[in-house]
């Protein structure tokens, strides 16, 4: 029903309220119910920086947006078709992203003078006509819920807490769904009284929709059929997918994994997830800081486990020196950076892709290393395996970039069959000197400390090529520096050809991206193409080294526009590598791209309204 996202078979719903209102649960459950009907979907949870922000404030608004569709869904949606606003602040913050004519469901009980004031409203927007362009459904949800859950016998406070399930029931009805799946989830998840209250609220909300004859907005949940390829699916967010990928990658390489980390938003969710996976060969160590976290991971690799560390921007900064040691020592290591807004502490809970310079170039000395970036929750699983493959076959630290949006966003994910995943074969070190570089990969063998008969000394001082002795010889340093660069470059020999997501080589415009912008970019390219414009889309997984065929492919396009949530870092890198123009569409507002933003800029590029170099 949203014309802007190009299909009438999709719907964007956003739940918003106080952090304490259970918004994330509501959104998650709504998505799960939708997924069970076979719908494709993409979600965007967006919560405040404060642990418990004061109720009713605009900065305390928690939101969860989901786009669901009967065709493939690539983003959580630009504009909202249905907004649930549980208080004035939630309305205030989200109104500007409403689809004209969209539906707004308000809980009147929360539109008190006090709350209106907290949200910065002088007059009640639900009564002063400012919502005229929308279909407003204002209900006293609070009261309706309390009435509904009475028989559960819970306290008034507990009863009020069920408000989110009442709302969920209503939305399910409005969009053509039923409550069966959610009801059984409630039963599994909560204790007796609470379960009863939540169930009653859910059912009452659903029934209300029917009896009050609100009229179904869009029966999308009732539609049969799925755009997804056949298979067994689950819902997964980027952080969980990445963790599963790490555990799976280690298993494919025949290794155990040691994850050293120090809590930091938004990387912490990986720490929490992995901490529960001890039974799957994953040890977790919460270190005293980020330096120790990478040190412990490197120590683990030194002794034969696969060391992994995860963090976000400020923590990455602290790991820089140890990355240099990992490069000099030629040990495998995976460093996950869940990017967030900066500089400095910046916007810890907001998303950004601005650590690309740091990942590719941000070390002292000539210190190259491979960089891989995940582009969707499901892709995070594959990228984690890819990062491990590169680390252990090329004996190098690898940086794996994800971001705050990707970490939290979820999508239906076809569960991979373990057996179908290709094993990661590690070169056999037997009989090789620990300092000898394999001609094919330019990598030395991995002989973990403790290996019988393999004892040797390594360190961060320059070593003589071949013998491994400390060396200050000028010619040797030249050779070793070149070798370190060539070793990373060599990885490109093992990469698949780059493949366009949308379009053809030679098109008028290439939209070039990396990371979590993929969905929006692919959608934009597809929609522009549908308009007859020659727009292609390429999304890079490997940011260092670039694939061998990338340069020629880029050269085939009339114009190249890098779209990134930073000030143009990929564009800069591409120009730096290839010495040819690349323009950039940048966004650093802490929010993901909207499809329309990309389309608008692409049209400008095509009409030549902007210079080639951003």
């Amino acid at each position: 029903m949203n014309a802007e996202h190009g299909t009438a078979r999709a719907l964007v719903v956003r739940f918003a309220g106080d952090s304490g209102d259970g918004i994330q649960v509501t959104g998650g459950r709504y998505s799960a119910a939708a997924a069970l009907t076979g719908a494709d979907l993409a979600t965007f949870p967006d919560f405040p920086a404060e642990i418990r922000a004061p109720a009713g404030t605009t900065y305390g608004v928690s939101a969860y947006q989901v786009q669901l569709g009967r065709d493939l869904v690539r983003t959580a949606g630009d504009l909202v078709d249905v907004l649930v606003a549980l208080n004035p602040a939630a309305l205030k913050v989200n109104l500007e992203e409403m689809q004209p004519g969209g539906v707004i469901i308000l809980d009147q009980s929360a539109f008190t003078e006090r709350n209106l004031k907290k949200a910065g409203y002088a007059v009640d927007p639900s009564t002063d006509g400012s919502l005229a362009g929308f279909r407003v459904v204002a209900l006293d949800i609070q009261k309706l819920t309390q009435a509904a859950v009475k028989e559960a016998g819970v306290s008034a406070r507990e009863a009020a807490r069920s408000r989110n399930f009442w709302t969920l029931g209503l939305i399910l009805w409005l969009t053509g769904g039923d409550v069966a799946a959610t009801r059984s989830w409630i039963e599994r998840r909560f204790e007796q009284d609470i379960a009863a209250a939540n169930r009653l609220a859910l059912e009452a909300g659903h029934a209300f929709g029917e009896t009050a004859e609100l009229g179904r907005i869009e029966p999308i949940l009732g539609v049969a059929g799925s755009p997804l390829p056949p298979g067994r699916y689950r819902s997964i967010n980027g952080a969980d997918a990445l963790c599963l990928g790490l555990v799976t990658g280690a298993k494919l390489a025949g290794l155990e994994l040691l994850y050293g980390s120090y809590p930091i938003t938004p990387a912490t969710s990986m720490l929490h997830t992995l901490a529960k996976l001890g039974a799957y060969g994953c040890d977790v160590f919460q270190a005293e800081d980020e330096i120790a976290a990478i040190g412990v991971a490197l120590g683990a690799s030194y002794a034969g486990k696969l060391g992994v560390t995860g963090t976000s921007g400020p923590g990455m900064a602290l790991k820089t020196e140890m990355l240099g040691l990992a490069i000099a020592a030629e040990l495998p290591l995976v460093v996950v950076n869940a990017q967030r807004g900066g500089p400095s502490t910046g916007l810890p809970t907001k998303t950004e892709q601005s650590d690309l310079f740091q990942a590719t170039l941000g070390r002292n000395a000539d210190a190259p290393l491979p960089v891989v970036a995940a582009s969707s929750p499901g892709d995070a699983f594959d990228c984690a395996i890819e990062a491990i493959r590169i680390a252990v076959t090329h004996m190098t630290p690898v940086i794996l970039l994800t971001d705050g949006y990707l970490a939290n966003a979820s999508e239906p994910w076809r569960v991979p069959e373990l057996e179908s995943l290709p094993p990661i074969t590690r070169p056999d070190p037997a009989g090789r000197s620990p300092y000898q570089h394999d001609p094919e990969t330019l990598s030395r063998p991995w002989i973990p400390a403790g290996t019988k008969g393999g004892r040797h000394r390594i360190g961060g001082l320059e070593r003589a090529d071949g013998s491994g002795a400390v060396s200050y010889d000028p010619a040797n340093h030249q050779r070793m520096t070149e070798l370190r660069q060539a070793r990373v470059q060599k990885i490109a020999d093992f990469l698949p050809r780059v493949v366009l997501e949308v379009g053809e080589p030679g098109d008028d415009l290439l939209l070039l991206g990396w990371g979590s912008t993929k969905g929006a970019m692919a959608q934009a390219a597809a929609e522009l193409r549908a308009e007859g414009l020659k727009v292609a889309h390429l999304h890079l997984r490997h940011l260092a080294p670039f694939a061998h065929d990338l340069e020629a492919l880029l050269a085939s396009f009339g114009r190249v526009l890098a779209c990134e949530m930073n000030m143009g870092q990929l564009a800069f890198l591409l120009r730096g590598h290839y010495g040819r123009p690349v323009a950039a569409l940048t966004k650093v507002s802490g929010r993901p791209f909207q499809v329309r933003e990309i389309k608008q800029r692409a049209r400008q590029e095509l009409t030549g309204a902007l210079g080639a170099v951003a």
Binding site: V247, L277, A297, G299, Y302, E321, L325, V415, G450, G459
Partner: protein, 334 residues
């Protein structure tokens, strides 16, 4: 390090343990004596060089791993403890020896040392304390004396020095010993005890930097003065020094140990406190003294090790990764 490793006692000699590498310390540096003692220690202990790893930071002391024919990792400044922790967690059977200078351990690396000792990783930690930054040519370190003149403190250091012993004991260390570099036999003995200790065997070695801080311990180790300045701790024996002529007694008024001369002011040997290495309070009193320095094993207590707990805690391996990938809620698209 615990002594329960199942590696066979290897028949190697100290020579076998010496790596084929030119030792690059200054002639006369105290590090040579320590190297010698370490080689003897690992030989006497019959360790397996393939199961032994020397891990160091950066500094003169930290060159150590190059000289031992075992696994060795010369890492970065101040971070050896973190890498040792990772190695030990990954491979608990590894015999890990950390070697680090006073700058490496107590300046840039102070935080990791704090967390290493409180976690009680099962390894040996050798702190070479020369009260100076050797490798960078002689700046004041956190253990340098007040007033010490160095190129970075031309008017004398004004930073109150940190006592390695007081610091690690306050941080929760389970083993603290101190030995001068010149006391070869005791050094070997103490290192063996540190190795046999289950947990972090922290040994502070007073090491002479002949180039930048020569004679820092001249009084402590000098023939004439040593008896008055060194007190060798022995479990169950009274805290006596100066050939038994002096001792330390507990003075309730001062609420501290105070020195006394046997036979003077009515104090006898029996007034000396009997050394109990398991008493952290006593160890803290001993470690803090600058007049007479407690040597040998000052403190040792039994406590669980992090690596031990970590591995005991590790759940039994589940093979069902496929089930994990599926999670709790799946649906099928036909």
């Amino acid at each position: 390090m615990s002594d329960t490793l199942d590696h066979p006692r290897s028949p190697l000699t100290a020579k076998d343990w010496a790596a084929d590498m030119e030792v690059r310390w200054c002639p006369g540096c105290g590090d040579y004596a320590i190297l010698k003692a370490v080689l003897k220690t690992v030989t006497d202990l019959g360790l397996d060089p393939d199961r032994t790893a020397f891990i160091s930071g950066i500094g003169c002391a930290s060159r150590f791993p190059y000289y031992v024919e075992s696994y060795g990792f010369h890492t970065i400044h101040g971070r050896a403890a973190t890498i040792a922790t990772g190695a030990k967690l990954a491979r608990p059977e590894l015999d890990v020896w950390v070697v680090s200078g006073d700058g490496d351990s107590l300046s840039i690396g102070g935080n990791h040392l704090l967390h290493l000792v409180r976690r009680n990783l099962d390894l040996v930690y050798l702190l070479f304390n020369n009260q100076i930054y050797g490798l960078t040519k002689g700046q004041a370190s956190p253990t340098s004396r007040l007033g010490q003149v160095t190129p970075s403190t031309p008017e004398g250091s004004i930073d109150q020095p940190v006592h390695a012993g007081s610091f690690v004991l306050g941080a929760g260390a389970t083993f603290y010993a101190r030995v001068p570099d010149v006391a070869q036999a005791q050094l070997v003995e103490v290192m063996k005890q540190a190795h046999d200790h289950r947990g972090t065997g922290f040994v502070e070695i007073l090491q002479n930097c002949i180039v930048y801080n020569d004679g820092a311990f001249a009084e402590v180790t000098g023939k004439a003065t040593a008896p008055e300045r060194q007190l060798w701790c022995k479990a169950g024996e009274p805290l006596l020094y100066a050939g038994g002529r002096k001792g330390l007694r507990f003075d309730p008024a001062a609420f501290d140990l105070v020195p006394f001369t046997v036979g003077e002011d009515g104090f006898e040997v029996s007034d000396a406190v009997v050394h109990d290495p398991t008493n952290r309070r006593l160890a803290q009193m001993l470690a803090a003294r600058d007049d007479v320095l407690a040597m040998g094993v000052v403190f040792q207590t039994d406590a669980p090790t992090l690596d031990g707990l970590h591995h005991a805690r590790r759940p039994a391996a589940k093979e069902d990764l496929q089930a994990l990938l599926e999670g709790r809620e799946t649906w099928v698209v036909a």
